[in-house]
Symmetry: C2
Subunit: 344 residues, 2 copies
DNA sequence: TACATAATTGAAAGCGCTTTGGATGCCATT
DNA sequence: AATGGCATCCAAAGCGCTTTCAATTATGTA
């Protein structure tokens, strides 16, 4: 069933039927009713490809999904998508996801943009000096970046959380509790959020004249296993850190296991603060020792970005170009006063 | 830059340029070279919407993503997507993802199909007597189902793992170890895999004249927290189970915490086998007590389904209509002989 | 040399929709 | 009765591509 058939069935022109469906005013209400009724009966749906070809818009936002045979999938991607979806479903928008090798992301993004398949772009996994930014700017298609790109002029539309502030505050809390030996379990080193979180820690420490040694820093994929490995390394250091900052609750999981296996007690021998993206599969408050976290919902961020993107496409602005969300520092039992040093 | 402009630039007709690009034989190799060169220089990309309109195909596979404000996102979705993507990227296919309220899935799937936006459909989260099946059959669009629908005639294209066999084998292993009191931590009750896994357990038990009591069964979202709660309930039963079967390693995480908190030892007081979807964020072998699992890679399944789907669209069959993958039963330290009952 | 044949290329139709630029009929005004 | 305005409706062009059918040129054969 297409427009032509439907209009013939109704004895109307395609023009009128099209207008009736798209809410144009110059059509008799009685006619509109008749059209709507026929649509219901026949199950007619406009062909999106044709719509897009005719209008240049088709209610879709595009994103590239990094993937490759060896490439680890990422929980955060799915969570983000859920947020985007939550908003998209309200506006009858859909997503076009282009899988691409991580090395090919710039090109993939460009292909997606000029494919004519999408109205706007969502970009994540930002890096320092991200090469996608100049490309996006040259594109004349709306986009919003999740995160920022360290080192680039912040003149692009983004939504980010205050990673530096979050880890600065978390570090200060631990300092106030008397800790002096810190370690940071971070995400992959080239990612923007990792850079900023590290800076947050370093600057809070610097205020007390402390530094973060190279061997007290780990950069790895944010998985349970990597958390375990990193923590095991930290615990074997001659000067064992007592305060750990961790970029993910998933990673914290493994880290805590390492702590337990070493016979140490979380919140007493070792204090730990992790960043919580509010993943539904993992609730920090129900850990055996409830976890102190810096919290910001990834999903909420996704929903907000979708809102901005869709709003822009539908000209329903204006939206702020830049948004920086504060995180919440939620104190639970995994943080406690620094243990009295045996040597002291 | 569009075809018309490109062809004018080259002094050729659109026809010839189009043919040159799509590998038709009736075009002079020299001309083809010239066209390809121009494409490289201008960065021309065909408009997918137009291509789709003209050919009816556009290299995309569609899926609906269940989502709603309260709806929990699911790790498995992302993992699956990674698998699909891994294969799709090789064939320059992309995905069209339609977010939809879980109550609206049938309609959403239909909309997606007749939107003209996709060449094939992927369907997951199958339930018993799934209402999407009859709809799909009436659709004349290729599709592959991940999982099966309990109670429906198995005459549709699917790829599933042998859930019943997996849990049957796991249960038998525990029986051989002398366990007699079993509990099952399952996924949501209406989902097909949950039904089959339960059946697997029940039939293995039945062979020994044992039954699975109602209070030794939990159906819940497969999250860490639900695992904790379910296990806590089990441990408070008057006849405490010693053998636990669990539908997910994520859930096992919480379950194990409950075991530890109760002062019990995994692999001694309590044996546990979990199903492992091979999520990159969680490696059962690196648990403090390495986990005995039934294993089957979700990602591999995704890749295989993409392969079938894309193959069908490109007429590169034939592919088997039905595939049932065996799972591996991998014995690690979380299973051990049944403890000697104090009462015995 | 003339003619069939193969190799290349192009003009134009069509995919299903939106939208511009009229038509048409009806009513109130003059 | 003639005019203008309004409410409705429609024919046709156009979005950017593929593909059918036809035209043109080059090649080989008798």
């Amino acid at each position: 069933m297409n427009l032509k058939q439907l209009s013939e069935l109704l004895g109307l022109s395609q023009t009128t039927v099209s207008r009736a469906l798209n809410g144009y005013p110059e059509v008799n209400e009685a006619t509109r009713e008749r059209v709507l009724q026929a649509v219901k009966e026949t199950g007619y749906r406009p062909n999106k490809a044709a719509q897009r070809l005719a209008t240049g818009k088709a209610g879709s936002i595009g994103l590239v999904m990094p993937t490759a045979p060896g490439h680890q999938s990422d929980v955060h991607f799915g969570e983000f998508l859920a947020g985007l979806g939550e908003e998209a479903v309200r506006h009858d928008f859909h997503f076009v996801i282009m899988p691409a090798d991580p090395d090919d992301e710039v090109a993939a993004l460009r292909r997606l943009a000029i494919s004519g398949n999408v109205d706007a772009l969502f970009v994540a996994y930002m890096r320092g000096h991200d090469p996608r930014l100049p490309m996006l700017k040259s594109l004349s298609m709306p986009y919003v970046v999740h995160g920022r790109s360290f080192g680039a002029e912040p003149d692009y539309p983004y939504l980010d959380i205050d990673n530096e502030g979050a880890f600065y505050d978390a570090t200060r809390l631990l300092l106030q509790l008397g800790h002096t030996r810190f370690a940071l379990m971070n995400g992959p080193t080239h990612l923007d959020f990792a850079i900023r979180r590290r800076n947050g820690v370093i600057s809070a420490l610097a205020e007390r004249g402390l530094t973060l040694e190279e061997d007290c820093m780990s950069h790895a994929l944010m998985t349970d296993e990597q958390g375990l490995l990193a923590m095991e390394r930290f615990l074997q250091l001659p000067q064992r850190p007592t305060a750990i900052l961790c970029s993910s609750t998933v990673m914290a999981l493994g880290a805590i296991r390492a702590v337990n296996q070493a016979g140490l007690r979380l919140g007493e021998d070792i204090s730990l603060i992790a960043h919580d993206d509010v993943l539904p599969l993992l609730k920090p408050e129900s850990f055996s020792v409830p976890l102190t976290t810096t919290r910001s919902s990834l999903r909420a961020a996704g929903a907000r970005i979708a809102q901005r993107l869709i709003g822009t496409v539908k000209q329903a602005g204006p939206f702020p170009e830049q948004e920086l969300w504060k995180t919440e520092l939620i104190v639970r039992a995994s943080t406690g006063p620094a243990p009295q040093s045996h040597e002291a």
